[in-house]
């Protein structure tokens, strides 16, 4: 798959909102989960 340019890649053939909306929210969810996990681990190790 050759996109030609970065603009083409980001445009996703006109479906940018849907494709990046899916991947972006997934990345946010994973980021939030990892953050929450790290916070919980810190607290658990402190014995809070």
């Amino acid at each position: 798959m050759n996109w030609g340019s970065l603009d083409n890649f980001l445009a996703m053939g006109g479906y940018a909102l849907y494709v990046w909306g899916s991947y972006g929210v997934t990345a946010l969810c994973i980021g939030a989960e990892l953050w929450a996990l790290a916070r919980r681990a810190r607290r658990a190790q402190r014995g809070a």
Binding site: M1, F9, G14, Y15, Y18, V19, S22, E33
Partner: protein
């Protein structure tokens, strides 16, 4: 301790004997070795003790996390730079790589959660309930991602974000089952009672999994049928399939790493007054 009596057991037993001979060994009272039968039982149940599982989980996390990252990178590369444009859906179909992986995970994790819960009910092992509790948030997250990416895929292809179709509705019920499990177990003060109540809910909810899976066959749904089947040739290009499977594997590895990390925190929280946890904190 008759250390010599375990000599004929193979492999791990040797290490077991070394540990069993040590002075500080077998602090897990419920699994204290008495005889050979006890030793076999101990081998089986050794890691069912939270205290033994805690360091084991800690050692496994980096491996699963690394695998998850590598598989996700490979999967994303194939999803965006190798897999061709779909003839009918254009680039919108690329949502499939996240959508299918998340939807599969949402169902698998529920079944695994229910299995742990059932094991806890039957054997009354402490770790089982902790594992079920550790799985629920990640399962809920994948269910949400499946629904969200599905809505974003439905809009350009079906013309609507949402329909009350059997597949979509049963997946939404799955999300509520996860939420219900989390809310119920958090609402009960005593963790062992919370585990049992949660287990009953989780086991009853398993009925929803085949409903989700077969919904596209049982009812006339807007949602398409299974993309991958063991009984017939794949209905998509090989590179698309490879990307999808890599993303699904990445989701598996990610889930294992995250669940192990969460269960470690749960173990510390629940056993905070135990001798070994205090020793752990004292050592830092």
């Amino acid at each position: 301790m008759r250390g010599g009596s375990v000599g004929h057991l193979c492999g791990p037993a040797d290490r077991l004997r070394l540990k069993a001979d040590g002075k500080d060994s077998l602090t897990i009272d419920s699994y204290r070795l008495q005889d050979e039968a006890g030793i076999r039982g101990w081998l089986l149940f050794r890691f069912a003790a939270p205290q033994a599982f805690y360091p084991l989980a800690g050692r496994m996390i980096p491996w699963f996390a690394t695998l998850a990252a590598l598989l996700a990178l490979a999967g994303l590369y194939i999803s965006f730079f190798v897999a061709p444009t779909d003839a009918q859906q254009g680039e919108a179909y690329r949502i499939i790589f996240i959508h299918v992986a998340a939807a599969w995970m949402s169902m698998f994790l529920y079944v695994v959660m229910a299995c742990w819960a059932a094991l806890g009910l039957v054997l009354n092992t402490r770790l089982s309930g902790m594992m079920a509790s550790a799985i629920a948030p990640t399962g809920a997250m994948f269910t949400f991602i499946a629904l969200w990416s599905g809505a974003l895929w439905g809009k350009p292809t079906w013309g609507t974000w949402w329909v009350w179709d059997a597949r979509l509705t049963s997946e939404l019920i799955l999300l509520f089952l996860y939420f219900g499990f989390i809310a119920l177990t958090n609402a009960i003060e005593d963790p062992r009672r919370a585990d049992r109540a949660g287990a009953v809910l989780a086991i009853v909810g398993v009925i929803n999994i085949p409903i989700i899976y077969f919904s596209v066959q049982w009812w006339n749904t807007l949602h398409q049928g299974a993309s991958v089947s063991l009984t017939r040739a794949p209905s998509m290009a090989m590179t698309m399939l490879t990307g999808m499977l890599l993303m699904a594997l990445a989701a598996w590895m990610y889930s294992i790493a995250v669940v192990l990390a969460r269960v470690r925190s749960i173990i510390l929280e629940r056993e905070r007054d135990a001798e070994w946890v205090r020793g752990l904190r004292g050592a830092e």
